[in-house]
């Protein structure tokens, strides 16, 4: 017992009393979410309002949980839905199956499907859990739609494609920070999210690094800012 620094434990537990609490009053207050959190999907649109989805079904093919159902159709030449030949005529995601792995986002050739950071949604029926194109497509300002059973907070709907912009489009470290993606409705061409090379500019992307988020909550002893 002598080896254990007997009174050190008592001192430690008393010191903790004056430390700031790490608890977040969750439903009332939410922690800032990590920039690359995988949440509910959106179907993006180009700046002119055209849908990005071309109905290629690559997302459905890659989905490990088999939760995506896509059926493409030909655009009508007079009134096209997407620029190109085909568009996603039916697009359904079953959130009872989705595991939010983001493989669909990786597979998508036109950056049509991305994920928001909203994961707090609860349904009371199976029909509500299956999101159709009506619910998934962003509105005319490029924001995701807010459904009654989803818990959106102020500012949460702005960063809908962080994960995609976090990776170099070529998958190569040499291209880190290079813009290789198309513009989005309501946002234009989004800035790349910084990687580990220090080329980041978080004020432009609007993202807060998860390390910053954590640092404000973690006591100094553990490498945080809070005294």
């Amino acid at each position: 017992m002598a080896r254990l620094n007997f009174f050190g434990g008592f001192k430690q537990s008393l010191k903790q009393v004056v430390q700031p609490r790490v608890t977040v009053q969750y439903p009332k207050v939410k922690r800032v979410k990590p920039p690359r959190l995988h949440g509910r999907h959106v179907l993006n649109r180009y700046e002119d309002g055209m849908e990005k989805c071309i109905g290629c079904e690559l997302c459905a093919a890659v989905c490990p949980a088999d939760c995506i159902y896509v059926r493409g159709a030909d655009n009508s030449p007079e009134n096209p839905t997407s620029p190109g030949e085909r568009f996603g005529y039916v697009y359904e995601i079953n959130y009872l199956r989705c595991i939010h792995c983001d493989l669909c986002v990786e597979a998508c050739p036109t950056e049509a499907i991305t994920e928001t950071k909203m994961f707090e949604f609860s349904f009371t029926s199976r029909a509500d859990a299956i999101y159709t194109k009506k619910e998934l497509v962003v509105d005319d300002e490029g924001r995701p739609q807010h459904l009654p059973w989803e818990d959106w907070r102020e500012g949460e709907d702005r960063y809908t494609s962080a994960w995609m912009r976090a990776t170099s489009p070529a998958g190569s470290a040499a291209y880190e920070g290079e813009v290789g993606w198309s513009a989005e409705l309501g946002y234009g061409v989004r800035y790349p999210e910084g990687g580990q090379s220090g080329k980041r500019d978080d004020s432009k992307t609007g993202n807060i690094s998860i390390r910053e988020v954590a640092r404000n909550k973690i006591p100094v002893r553990f490498g945080g800012k809070v005294r």
């Binding site: 008592f10 537990s13 008393l14 903790q16 009393v17 430390q19 700031p20 609490r21 608890t23 009053q25």
Partner: protein, 389 residues
């Protein structure tokens, strides 16, 4: 001596006073247990950088009430293998001593109500502190029978641990109490408190030295099965120990008893070593100040109990036995002898110190010899394993 309330015979007035005292004490104890559970949860979450209960009522004060209501309405299960009568009896055997021990603790001075001199304590039996020892032994039965009657393995292990632990530590508890009795020349808790009265340097903690207090505090923590001596419960190894099979209201009785014991033992520590309700008072509301002093001191010890719980890991069974038998009991025995010797004469005091030192060396030698024998009895390889551990 004895209770001045009964000196003029027992009439209706005395009877009413006694009943009112018992009811008030009962109510206060229940309320303070409710607050204690809340306080413990709040304090320990403070030490763990959490917030703790804050939903029910202001600052979560009614959390205990909510939990109690929930437990009350849960299904009451009695295992098929259980000895039904003992199983039902055991929680009350645990709860009752906690109540009754508190009844002999003086919470304040004396007041005069309608020509009756009323001591602010439920009862002041001449046997006083022996009553405490007797009841804390009864509490062992509660825990032991609970585990045994459950007809299940983990509770049985828990109850065996509990009875071994409580019996071992009762010896140290009793020996440290003897030092107090010797110094105060009385068994009655009122008399013990009065003997510590006028100044704080008359408190037993100073008159007797720190040692009996420390031993008593450790032993009482072990008696009440509180961490770090909660081997009988051992959530991580026994799944709750003696109360694994208990649910609903019977479980809440155990829960109640545990926290009531915390308060009671803090109160007893204050009474025996810190002068009880002794403290500076004023003429304005003179009867109130001792009660406040008593409450404040008890609250401090409740906090210390929580502090210990937050700081120390649970002892292993062999560590528990070693602390009890090899350290606390010899130490309290030696200290008792020294106190007794000093009270008789300085020469006897020094003689007892010498005797204690000799005894200490003998114990040291004995444990060394037994260790060597044990090691040589084991094979070489097992010995290395032991040392590696």
């Amino acid at each position: 001596m004895g209770d001045p309330l009964f000196s003029a015979g027992i009439d209706l007035g005395v009877l009413i006073v006694v009943i009112v005292k018992a009811l008030v004490a009962f109510g206060l104890l229940l309320v303070s247990v409710m607050l204690m559970i809340w306080f413990e949860r709040k304090a320990i979450s403070g030490m763990q950088v959490r917030i703790g209960p804050n939903r029910a009522g202001p600052f979560g004060l009614f959390q205990t009430l909510a939990d109690g209501t929930k437990l009350f309405f849960k299904e009451d299960l009695i295992p098929e293998q259980a000895d039904r009568f003992v199983f039902v009896l055991a929680p009350y055997l645990t709860l009752l001593p906690a109540f009754l021990i508190f009844s002999i603790v003086p919470v304040g001075g004396t007041v005069t109500i309608a020509h009756h001199i009323v001591e602010l304590q439920v009862a002041d039996p001449p046997i006083g502190i022996l009553f405490l020892l007797a009841l804390s032994s009864v509490a062992v039965y509660g825990v032991m029978l609970a585990g045994w009657s459950s007809g299940s393995k983990y509770p049985l292990i828990g109850s065996v641990r509990a009875s071994a632990q409580m019996i071992s530590y009762e010896a140290a508890l009793g020996l440290s109490i003897i030092a107090v009795i010797l110094e105060s020349h009385a068994l009655s808790l009122r008399a013990i408190v009065n003997s510590q009265a006028p100044h704080f340097w008359d408190w037993n903690i100073i008159r007797l030295g720190l040692v009996p207090f420390i031993i008593f505090f450790i032993a009482s923590t072990a008696e009440t099965n509180r961490p770090p001596f909660d081997l009988a419960e051992g959530e991580s190894e026994l799944g709750g120990g003696f109360h694994t099979e208990y649910s609903s209201i019977r479980f809440s009785l155990f829960f109640l008893a545990e926290f009531m014991n915390t308060i009671t033992m803090s109160a007893v520590v204050v009474t025996l070593f810190f002068g009880g309700p002794d403290g500076p008072g004023f003429h304005f509301l003179a009867w109130l100040w001792p009660i406040l002093w008593f409450g404040a001191k008890t609250a401090v010890f409740c906090y210390v109990q929580v502090w210990i719980r937050a700081s120390l890991p649970r002892l292993r069974y062999d560590q528990l036995m070693e602390l009890g038998w090899k350290k606390l009991i010899p130490l309290s025995l030696a200290w008792m002898l020294i106190v007794a010797g000093v009270l008789v004469d300085a020469v006897w005091g020094f003689a007892m110190i010498g005797l204690s030192l000799v005894g200490y060396l003998l114990i040291l030698r004995a444990s060394k010899v037994s260790r060597i024998r044990r090691i040589s009895a084991l094979g070489e390889s097992t010995m290395q394993q032991r040392i590696g551990r």
